[in-house]
Symmetry: D2
Subunit: 396 residues, 4 copies
C-alpha cells in the first residue's frame, strides 16, 4: 500500500508535518525545566480546545480507552450504577469496561444510526430518586455509525431530572473537530486521545475532570496505579510525572493545540463541516444512504455509508486498499458488512477529499455497484467550489 | 497555500519520504571512507538509470542548467558550431547559453508543439561535409510544451549523414521517467538534474559523458573551474571532490537510483505512461487540446494543455493556487497564456492524480470555461480502473 | 539548555537517528496488512532480546509502570501475598502498586546500595510451606542506586525452596543493555519500557509472560480493561489491537530489536560494560564512591555516585544543567541529595561519555568539591584506549 | 564510523536540528508566492550577517568555489591582473581559478601560517600607477592553516595607495563565525558557502556584490551562464530564479540568518572565540604549536596544529576516525602531514569540544606522541569554567 496517499479512516488522521516534527524530539531530561514548558502548555491547550476554564486535564501515555479507564477507576466504586445508551461499537465497549470493573450499567438499547435518547434518559433519571445512578456515560460521536449525539440535550435531561450524577463524555472523535463545550455542557469527565482532532500519532489518553469529578476522586475509586490521577496531580505540581512521560507526544499536543487556536476553533469546525458536506453530497449522488438516520445526527468527522442489501460493504474497504492503496474504515459490530466508513477529520483538504471520493467510486464500480464514475466527485466539487475561500478573480 | 496537497508542476516532483530522509543526513566528513560509499554508488546508479555501460557520470552541486554548462565548456571551443532545434523554452535557453559562450548555433526553428525535425537534421548534417558542426543539441522532452522528441531518430540522422558531431541530450525531464538509452542511442553527453525523475530536491546537476566526449575534453574546452570535469575525474579517483560535495543530495541520488532499479525501469516507465494516459483522457473529455500536436510526441511526464482562444491560461494556474492550494505549471515563452501544464512525473499515484484533475476542473469552471465537473475525472478513472494492478476479487 | 549535548540520565536514552525515523511514520491504517508486518516482528524482536523461546510479549501504549500493572492485574487476586525486597526507589514503587491493588507484600528491607538478598528469599520461601506467596518481585537493575541484582540467584532460591510462586522481574533498565535470560532464569513475567535499552522515546510498556503466567491469567486477576492481556491475545490473533496502537513506536521497537540483534546481544552488553568501566574508573580517580557497595552489584547502565557528607549532590545535577546544558540524574528517595547519577545506557559512545565526565568534573569543581580537572577523564581515557576496537596502525 | 559523535572538521559543521528541518522541506512550487517569502528573507539575512546596507546578495545552487567563479566571471576580463597572497591551500586554489580564466595573477608568496602581508600589498598597489590591477583577492580565514588575515588592513593598504581595484574577500570559513564588515571594510565581493558559519549542508554558493562591483558587471566579464548575476538580478526582480532554485537550502539560509541574528552576531563571535580559546589552551598544554605564527592571526573557526618533526600528522586524523569514530581535518598542500586541524565553528558546545579534545589526546597517545591524557582537556575545562554564563549558585 502506498504511503503517499492520504488515509480516510476515522482516526488516526493524516498528520501535518509540523506535528510530526513536534513529536519527533531529541531526548530531553523530563525532570529538567525544559519539560515544564511542554507539560503545562499542553494541558492548557487542551483546556482551551475544550472551552473550559475549570477542567483539570490529565494526559497519560495511553489511548482514549485508557482515558475511559481513568474516568471510571478514579471516581466510581464497585457496585455503582451508571447509565448509558448502546448505539454503536464504542458505546458498547465503554459499557463492557464498566461491567468488567464491577459497575452496574443501566443500558438503553438504541438503534445503531440513532443518537442518545435524551428523553428516555430524562425519564430514567427522574425515576431514579434514590440517585443510584452515579454517572451518565455519553458517546458524543459514535465513530462506528457516524452519529453525533446531543450532549447539551443529555445535560438538559439531567438538569430537568435534577439528578446529581456525573456526566462522562467520550469525545474521542469529536474534540478538536466539532463543537464541544466542557463548561457549557457542565461535563464532569471528557475523554479523548491524541490521534483524532489533535492530528497526532496514537499514544496519549486525555481525560479532563471538572471540580465535581475531582471531588469524587477523594471519596471513591477502584484499585488503580497507572491511571491514578492523584499521582498525576502530585507530579504536575512539581512539573513532573509519576513515571516517564511521553515527552514528544506531549510536545505535539502543545503544538496541536496552538495550531487549532491559531486557526480558530470556529474555523476548524467550519472546515470539518465543509469537507463533510462534500462527502455527504457525494453519497447522495451515488444514491446511497448514511447510517445516521437524520441530518441533525450527521457527524462531521466520519460518514458511515450503507451499501445495498446483500452486498458486503467490507469488500469496498479491502478492494480500495489492495487495488488503489487507499484506506477507508470497515463497518464494526452490528453494522459490519453493512457500511463502509470515510473518515474526514483532522488534517485534510477538499482537494485530497476528492481523491478519496474518486477512489471510492472506482472501488464500488469495480465491485459491480451501480455507481456512475465522477458523479460523487462532481457533487462534492460543487460544494467545495461554492464554499472555498473567495478569491478576487480580477486580482489574480 | 497548503503544503499537504501534492504539486502538479513538471518538477520538482513530489518527494517520497524515503528520499527526503536520504538527503537529510547528519554531517559526515566528506574526506572519510563514509563518503566513498555514497559517491560511487550514486554515480553507478545514474549509469544504470541511463542504461549505459560506458558513461562517466559527473554530479555537481548545481542544477540541470549547470549540467548544460558542463557539457559545453568541457568539450567545445569558442567559434565551434552546434546544431539545435528551437521548439520550446528549454531548447531556447540552451541555445542562448551556447551563444553566450561564443559558439555559433545553427538554429532550426520548429513549431512549439512539434518535435525535433530529424529529417531536417539529416539534411543539414549531410550538407556539412566540412564537419563544422561539432555538436548536435537535442532536448529529449520539452518541458514547456510536453513534447517528447525522437532521440533515436536524431542518432539515425547523424549516422545516415555519417557525421562525427557529438550528440548532447537534455534529458532533464525524461531521464528516470521515460525510456532513455545512453548507449543504445550513442549519446555523448546526457544532462539532467536531481529534481525530476530522481524525485529529489533541486541542487544537483548531472552530466554523463561517453568515451568520445571524454576524449573531446582533452583537446578542447572553454575557461572553466567549477564545472571542470578534469578536476572531478581527479577527485573521484581518490574518492573525493574538488570542493565540498553536497553529501546529502548525493546520498539521495544513490537511494533514488536504488528505488528506481528495484521497481524496475520498465515498470517505472509504464507507471508514468499509465498516469499520463489518464490525464490525456481527461483533457479529451474536457474538449481541450494538448500543445503536442501528435500522439507520438506526447510526453509522459508533463502535459501542456491549450485553453480556448482569448482565455488567459495563466489564470487557471493562479486561481488553482490561490483558491485550492494546488500548483500547476504556467505556460512559458511563446505559449505563455496559451497553455497550462500538469506535471505528472516522479512520485505520484493515480489517486492523487485524480485530485489534481478534479482541481483543474473546479478552477476552469470557476473561471467560466465550459467544463462539466467530474468529466475529466471520470475519463481518468476509467483509465486507472482498467490498468490498475489486478486484484483477485474473490480473494479479498 | 542545549539540545545538542547528549543526555546522561538513566533513561530515556539518547536515540539513534534511525530509531527516531522508525518512530516518525506517516499514518497508516492499523487495520490493514501494513500493521501486521510491524506488530509481529516487534513482538518477536523483544522475544529474541529476552532470549526466550516461550514468552508471549505484550506491548501497551504505556510505560514500564503500565507493564508492572499488567503483570499484577492479570495474574493476582486481592489478598494474594507477594515477596519483594525494598532496596531502592523503583522496588519501592512496585511494592506500593501491589498494596494499592489489595495485595499483601512481604517486604524485605534491604540497604539501598545492596542487591536482592537471595539467601533471605530462600529462607522465606522455604518457610512458606502453605504457598501463600503467589509471586516473587525482583528488580533486576535498581535505577535509583545503580545496583544489579542476581536474578539467577533469585531463581535458584525459589528452586531450592521448591516454591511454585511466579517470578516477576522488573528489567526496565537492564533489558537490552545487560545480560537477561527470560528462559534461562525461568522468569514468569518480565517488564520493561521502550525508553531504555531499546533506545526509543517513552510510550510503550512491555510485558512478557511465560506459559505458567499465561495459565495464571485464566484463573485469576484483578479488574482491568486497558491492560487486559486477554483482549491483547484476541487482538494479536487477528493482527490487531483492542484499541488504537502506537504504530510508530511499535515500528521503532521492531527496528530497535533488529539493531540489537544485528550488533549481537553479547556485543551490546560488552559495549555497555566498556562505557561503564570508564565511568567507574573516573569515579575512582575523583576519590568518590559508588552507591553500589560491591563490584558484583555494579550496574552497567547507571552509576549512582555518592558525594561527600554534607554536600547536596542535587546541586551537581542542577548546576550541570544550568551552566553546561548537560543532564545527569538526581538521587531519589532515601539517597536524594546523597548521590548523583550518570546514565550510560543505550545509544552512547566512549567519546561522548568523556564529554559527560568532563562536565561532571567542571560542575563538581565549580561547586567547591576537591576534584582535579581532567583526572576522571584521563582514567576513563585509559580504559577506552585499552578497550577500543583494535586498528592495525601500520595500515592507517 | 559512528554518526552520533560530532565532527571536528573545519566545515561542513555540525548542524542544529532546526536547520536540518528548515532544509528538509516538502516540494513547493518555486514559481508561487511561497517562494518569495523564502528567497528575499534569505538574501536579506545574509546582508545582515555581512553587516551591509548596500550589498546585493546572490545565492547559487553551488559551493563557495562557485561563489569565487561568480566573483571573477562577472567582473573581470581575460588579461586583467589581480593581486593575491598565497599563504595556504584556499588562496592557492583561488589563484589557480583566476589563471584558468585567463587572468594574470600577481602572486605574493607568503609563509603558510602567516597572514596577508598588507604592507607589501600597499607597496605593490602604490607602484601600480597604471591601475593594471583590477582586483585584490583576500582570503579572510585560511582554512588550511587556521590563519585569520587582516581585511581591514588590506582595505587600508588599498586606500593608502589610492588604488581603485575591487576588493574580493573569501569569507567562506569566517562569515557568520568571526567579525566581518562588508560595508566597514568596503568590500566589493564577499564569497561564502552554506556549510560553515550558516551551519547548513553544502550546496549553496553565496556572493555579495557592492554597488561598485555591480557596475563592473555592466562593463566586463567572462563567458558565463550558470553564474551570470545578470540573470539572477532579473529573476529576483520577479521573485524567481533563472533555473530551479534549491528551495530547501534557501529556507535553511533564511532560518540560519534568523538564528544568528536572534543570538546576536557579537554573541555568536564571542561563542566562537570562547570555544577556540579552550582549544588553544589544550594545544599549549600538549606542548604543541599552532600553524598560525602569532596570536593576532589565530582563527576562531579552525586550529591547525603542528605535530613534532618526523611525525605524520595525517595519522592522527586517520586513527581518530578509525578507532574512535571522530573526524578531524588533515593538513593540506604544503602542510600536509605536518598539521592536523580541529574545526570549531558553527553549531558546537564547550561540552562537545571537550570530547573532541579528549579524542585527540587518545589518538596522539595511541600513536606514541608524548601527550599526558587529560592535560588538554583540563586546560580547556579551565577556560570553559571561567567563561561559562554565570549561574547564581545560591539560586540553584
Amino acid at each position: 500500500m502506498s504511503l503517499q496517499n492520504p488515509v480516510f479512516i476515522p482516526g488516526p488522521t493524516n498528520m501535518p508535518e509540523s506535528l510530526r516534527r513536534a513529536c519527533d524530539m531529541p531526548t530531553i531530561d523530563h525532570r529538567s525545566d525544559l519539560f515544564k514548558d511542554i507539560l503545562h502548555p499542553a494541558r492548557d491547550g487542551v483546556k482551551r480546545v475544550l472551552k473550559s476554564a475549570v477542567a483539570e486535564v490529565f494526559v497519560f501515555p495511553s489511548t482514549g480507552t485508557g482515558g475511559w479507564e481513568t474516568a471510571i477507576t478514579n471516581t466510581l466504586t464497585p457496585g455503582d450504577t451508571v447509565l448509558a445508551a448502546r448505539n454503536g461499537m464504542f458505546s458498547q465497549k465503554w459499557i463492557d469496561m464498566c461491567q468488567r470493573h464491577g459497575l452496574t450499567v443501566e443500558i438503553i438499547e438504541t438503534p445503531w444510526g440513532e443518537g442518545i435518547p435524551t428523553a428516555r434518559f430524562e425519564e430514567i433519571l427522574t425515576a431514579d430518586t434514590a440517585h443510584k445512578i452515579k454517572a451518565v456515560l455519553a458517546t458524543h460521536n459514535e465513530t462506528a455509525t457516524g452519529v453525533r449525539s446531543d450532549i447539551a440535550g443529555v445535560r438538559r435531561a439531567m438538569d430537568a431530572a435534577k439528578h446529581p450524577a456525573l456526566l462522562f463524555v467520550d469525545g474521542v472523535s469529536s474534540i478538536g473537530s466539532m463543537p464541544f463545550e466542557f463548561d457549557g455542557w457542565k461535563i464532569d469527565v471528557a475523554v479523548t486521545g491524541s490521534q483524532k482532532g489533535f492530528m497526532l500519532p496514537a499514544g496519549l489518553g486525555i481525560a479532563a475532570f471538572s471540580p465535581k469529578a475531582m471531588a469524587a476522586v477523594e471519596t471513591g475509586g477502584l484499585p488503580r496505579t497507572y491511571f491514578d490521577i492523584r499521582d498525576m496531580v502530585k507530579g504536575y505540581a512539581i512539573n513532573g510525572y509519576p513515571y516517564t512521560p511521553a515527552v514528544g507526544l506531549l510536545n505535539g499536543l502543545k503544538t496541536a493545540s496552538e495550531m487549532l487556536m491559531e486557526e480558530g476553533l470556529d474555523n476548524v469546525f467550519a472546515r470539518h463541516t465543509r469537507i463533510a458536506t462534500g462527502v455527504r453530497a457525494a453519497v447522495q449522488a451515488w444514491g446511497l444512504q448514511l447510517c445516521a438516520i437524520r441530518p441533525d445526527l450527521y457527524s462531521d468527522t466520519v460518514s458511515a455509508i450503507r451499501t445495498p442489501e446483500g452486498f458486503d460493504a467490507g469488500r469496498i474497504v479491502s478492494h480500495a486498499s489492495k487495488r488503489y492503496g487507499v484506506a477507508f474504515g470497515a463497518g464494526l459490530g452490528q453494522v459490519a458488512g453493512k457500511v463502509f466508513r470515510i473518515g474526514h477529520l483532522g488534517s485534510l483538504t477538499d482537494v485530497l477529499m476528492l481523491s478519496g471520493l474518486a477512489t471510492a467510486e472506482m472501488a464500488m464500480a469495480d465491485l459491480g455497484l451501480d455507481i456512475r464514475l465522477g458523479s460523487g466527485v462532481a457533487a462534492a466539487q460543487e460544494v467545495y467550489r461554492r464554499t472555498a475561500a473567495p478569491v478576487a478573480l480580477a486580482a489574480e
